[in-house]
């Protein structure tokens, strides 16, 4: 088919996040059938189908060897992982776990090795923080163990190994140099988080009270938090409204909307005169980032700002052409463009939009920048003549790779007679740059922390290895966490330091809470019960009892868990 004849409609994508970034084979089926049937085709996926095509996180089993200085600095890390790849295409969690470990713990020397094993299990795909979660779950408890061996505060060991500034990441490039993060303020996150959590006072609590053992844990998590180079597009209509055309999908996180606050702020426009057009390429949308993987706030705040700067420049040029003077004589605010030396002399946005239509060319979209994506060009052509058309590609500089981080703190109380435990307090402190929308940010922190807590506590698949099939298929068997599994006290914070390599200063927050939360809970359990009691997550009641009761033999069979 001619690409121009294709309209994509994806309004409410729902959860699934990274798993929906790339089209899966199954997603193509309705398109093929629709072509044959010459009629709309909907793909309905049952729980049974979900087991076959839904794609789960590849699991890693790892062996870590590490050397520390007496101050707790990680001098060398030897990391070997075996990845349950599932069937079919190659997964990248294994390699990414090494990359993220190199960033999160800044080892002075590091070797990473990995093996991917194809297994006859349900299909696998990227889930939140692919590889990042596993890195934290594998290495986080290792740091806590080192702290205990060295009689150091685990928080101090986390801190001394935390990335800082333009921290190096990953293996050397061909020229021997290292890639670097755009920024990292993890030490600040650890400091603020420790204060909010009350780390020092909690350390002094009695470790044992009757059958209950108390433990606290701290861990860091991180992951890729933004891409660059996408397009911003909006129209200032002759009615003076601001209509944003965005290709961002709605995963339920509402980021398709939240990120547009940047445009409203940059244009000094009240939010209630902004309208968002999205979810249907037939409505002429801009080329946007994929809706997942913590891309949106970073990529599209940049793109939105680029379009805003274009609009501001055009408004000033229109005013100068209409009212005289030079564009730099004009300022923007209160839905008007006005002279700096006489604020009464100016035009409303509505008037400027009508004037843009009269001027045509670049002002109303009849001419389009050459560097924007062809999809954006097509949209601009369709919108031409509707008002002042603001369009630009994000060409802001960035030196480095963008990551976000979370420092997580957990306190658990473990009943050693039942194996049940409670997370009595959990705190997550983000280093994700400027927080654009605090409530949405909080939702991400809570939801993704719960995902990590689920991996630490209950969420698991079980396979009958003789027959090669999963036996735990329903949610009451695989046990993802529910709303009522929330820690008894959950708090969050953000250091809020702008990333210096992106103009708005915001980075994504969706990924890093997962690994940090998972590792913090595992570290807290180790603190309560001792090192090397668990070699597998999730840690469930049977594992707790097996750790405590020497006569309770627990089989540690092969690749059967998600983490």
């Amino acid at each position: 088919m001619d690409a121009d004849d294709i309209v994509l409609i994806s309004e409410y994508t729902g959860g699934g996040f990274g798993g929906k970034i790339t089209a899966s084979v199954a997603a193509i089926i309705p398109a093929l059938l629709a072509k044959k049937a010459q009629a709309p085709v909907m793909l309905r996926v049952s729980r049974e189908d979900e087991q076959a095509i839904g794609r789960a996180r590849p699991s890693l089993i790892g062996r870590m060897r590490a050397g520390f200085s007496k101050e707790g600095r990680l001098l060398g890390l030897d990391m070997f992982v075996v990845m349950d790849n599932g069937p079919y295409e190659e997964q990248y969690d294994g390699g990414m776990s090494g990359r993220m470990a190199s960033l999160l713990y800044q080892p002075q020397a590091m070797r990473w090795r990995g093996v991917a094993v194809l297994t006859n299990t349900p299909t696998r795909g990227a889930q939140t923080a692919p590889g990042g979660l596993q890195a934290s779950a594998l290495v986080g408890p290792l740091l806590a163990k080192a702290a205990r061996r060295l009689h150091l505060d685990p928080l101090a060991v986390c801190r001394i190994n935390a990335p800082e500034g333009r921290a190096p990441v990953g293996p050397p490039k061909a020229d021997g140099t290292l890639n670097a993060a755009t920024s990292a303020f993890v030490k600040q996150a650890l400091d603020r988080g420790a204060e909010a959590f009350g780390w020092q006072s909690r350390r002094t609590r009695p470790a044992v009270k009757g059958s209950v053992r108390h433990g606290i844990g701290v861990a860091t998590g991180g992951f890729v938090a933004g891409t660059i180079g996408f397009d911003g597009l909006f129209v200032i209509t002759p009615e003076g409204r601001l209509r944003l055309h965005t290709g961002i999908g709605n995963l339920g996180t509402e980021s398709f909307s939240d990120v547009q606050r940047v445009v409203a702020d940059a244009m000094d426009m009240p939010w209630d005169v902004c309208e968002i057009v999205w979810g249907n390429t037939g409505q002429h949308l801009a080329w946007s980032c994929v809706s997942g993987g913590s891309q949106t706030i970073h990529a599209m705040s940049r793109a939105g700002l680029a379009a805003s700067l274009d609009a501001r420049a055009k408004l000033k040029e229109i005013a100068a052409k209409t009212l005289g003077g030079k564009p730099e004589d004009y300022g923007i605010g209160g839905q008007r463009v006005f002279r700096h030396d006489n604020s009464q002399a100016g035009m409303s946005f509505a008037e400027a939009a009508r004037r843009a239509i009269e001027l045509g060319g670049i002002y109303d979209g009849h001419e389009c920048p050459a560097d924007v994506n062809k999809m954006t060009k097509a949209s601009v052509a369709a919108l031409a003549g509707q008002g002042l058309v603001a369009v630009a590609r994000d060409a802001f500089p960035r030196d480095g790779q963008t990551f976000s981080y979370v420092a997580a703190f957990a306190e658990v109380e473990v009943d050693t007679e039942t194996g049940m435990y409670r997370i009595v307090h959990f705190h997550a402190e983000a280093d994700a740059g400027v927080v654009v929308h605090p409530r949405a940010f909080a939702g991400q922190m809570a939801g993704r922390s719960m995902l990590g807590i689920g991996h630490a506590t209950t969420q698991k698949w079980l396979y009958d290895q003789e027959h090669g099939t999963p036996v735990a298929r329903r949610f009451y068997q695989t046990r993802p966490p529910t709303m009522l599994c929330f820690p008894e006290k959950f708090t969050w914070g953000s250091v809020g330091i702008p990333d210096p390599q992106t103009p708005v200063g915001a980075r994504g927050i969706g990924e890093p809470p997962v690994g940090a939360a998972c590792a913090a809970v595992l570290c807290a359990l180790n603190d309560a019960l001792g090192d090397d009691k668990f070699l597998r997550a999730p840690v469930m009641a049977d594992a707790i009892l097996a750790a405590i009761e020497p006569g309770t033999w627990r089989v540690m069979d092969g690749l059967s868990a998600n983490v």
Binding site: D415, T418, D464, T482, A541, D542, G551, R554
Partner: protein, 334 residues
């Protein structure tokens, strides 16, 4: 032809408004008829097409099966009474707190609002092989995949009474009813019979294909709590992986008559360790006439007598002992 499992196969739905109509329908429609209470056990299996009844008799319209009333010495609970109603009922809380607590520990608030007491005790086992459609002994096949296969996944299975099948009773309220010496009234077209709760449940040694004595054409119509244990000292605890929406790994229901700290008489019942609620007569005998503190350790050691753990569920032996000790001492955390 692909197996379609996301929709229920068609069936005839009947919604009687009286017990008599329900019985008449059940008798007329025969063995392919399914009695539906809250639906939480049934609908999953309909959707999975593991059960394909030709007709379903929905009891939700039978008012006579709902509610809680005093009748002579007995407190009578309609089996269609929801678990939330049982949990919150003032008379049950005051006199039979064991049952109120057990009902409040079932699954999640939403499920307790929909699930019924009768359904909770009558539900089938949740063995993942059996529920997944494997042709095991319980399903009429020729093996037990959880218990007999060397690779069987059996962390949630039985440590007691596993004869051929290692599936367990998943109910939280059933152990409580056995501990309280509840009596269950069953009606069919021919008449009425009343059985002790303990005798309502069936282990694989009696019938490997069933978990209770209800036959096609029969209805559970009343759950009667005698005054025997009213106001006694109770203990219920459920160990599970998730704080909510989880079946028990092991639960315990205990009722004790005390004089001071001395246990005059007691009943201890474990759940999720066998295909039926598992009474512990050896523990009951060991504590009778002794103080709680003096008897706890020794009685706890007896709790797992006869246990035969499988490859992955040895922890249930520890749990059985620890829960009995906690029940005797009456504290969930020290």
């Amino acid at each position: 032809m692909a197996i379609i499992r996301d929709g229920m196969p068609p069936f005839d739905l009947f919604r009687p408004t009286s017990v008599e109509d329900a019985l008449s329908l059940a008798n007329r429609l025969g063995a392919d008829t399914w009695i539906l209470a809250g639906g939480l056990d049934s609908l999953e299996r309909f959707k999975d097409r593991i059960k394909r009844p030709k007709a379903v008799i929905d009891l939700s319209g039978v008012d006579a099966l709902r509610g809680i009333r005093q009748e002579g010495e007995d407190l009578v609970i309609g089996p269609m009474t929801t678990l939330t109603e049982v949990h919150l009922h003032p008379e049950i809380k005051a006199r039979f707190a064991l049952l109120a607590e057990a009902a409040g520990e079932v699954a999640s608030p939403q499920i307790r609002n929909q699930g019924t007491l009768g359904g909770n005790i009558s539900q089938d086992t949740r063995c993942w092989y059996y529920r997944g459609g494997w042709d095991c002994y319980r399903a009429g096949g020729g093996t037990c995949y959880a218990g007999e296969s060397p690779e069987g996944q059996n962390r949630e299975h039985a440590i007691f009474g596993a004869e051929g099948c290692v599936a367990v009773s998943p109910s939280d309220t059933a152990p409580a009813l056995v501990a309280l010496e509840a009596r269950l009234v069953i009606k069919n077209a021919e008449g009425v019979r009343e059985v002790a709760a303990e005798d309502f449940f069936v282990g694989p040694e009696k019938d490997i294909t069933r978990v209770n004595i209800l036959r096609p054409g029969e209805l559970l119509t009343e759950i009667r709590l005698p005054a025997t244990w009213a106001g006694a000292t109770f203990y219920f605890e459920k160990v599970r992986d998730r704080p909510v929406w989880d079946f028990p790994l092991v639960n315990i229901a205990a009722a004790m008559r005390l004089t001071g700290d001395r246990i005059d008489r007691a009943r201890f019942v474990l759940g999720a360790v066998a295909a039926r609620p598992w009474r512990l007569p050896q523990v009951e005998a060991a504590v009778a006439g002794r103080s709680r503190n003096a008897s706890a350790e020794a009685a706890a050691r007896l709790a797992a007598d006869g246990a035969a753990p499988l490859l992955h569920n040895g922890y249930k032996v520890v749990l059985a002992r620890n829960l009995v000790k906690r029940a005797i001492l009456g504290k969930k955390e020290s």
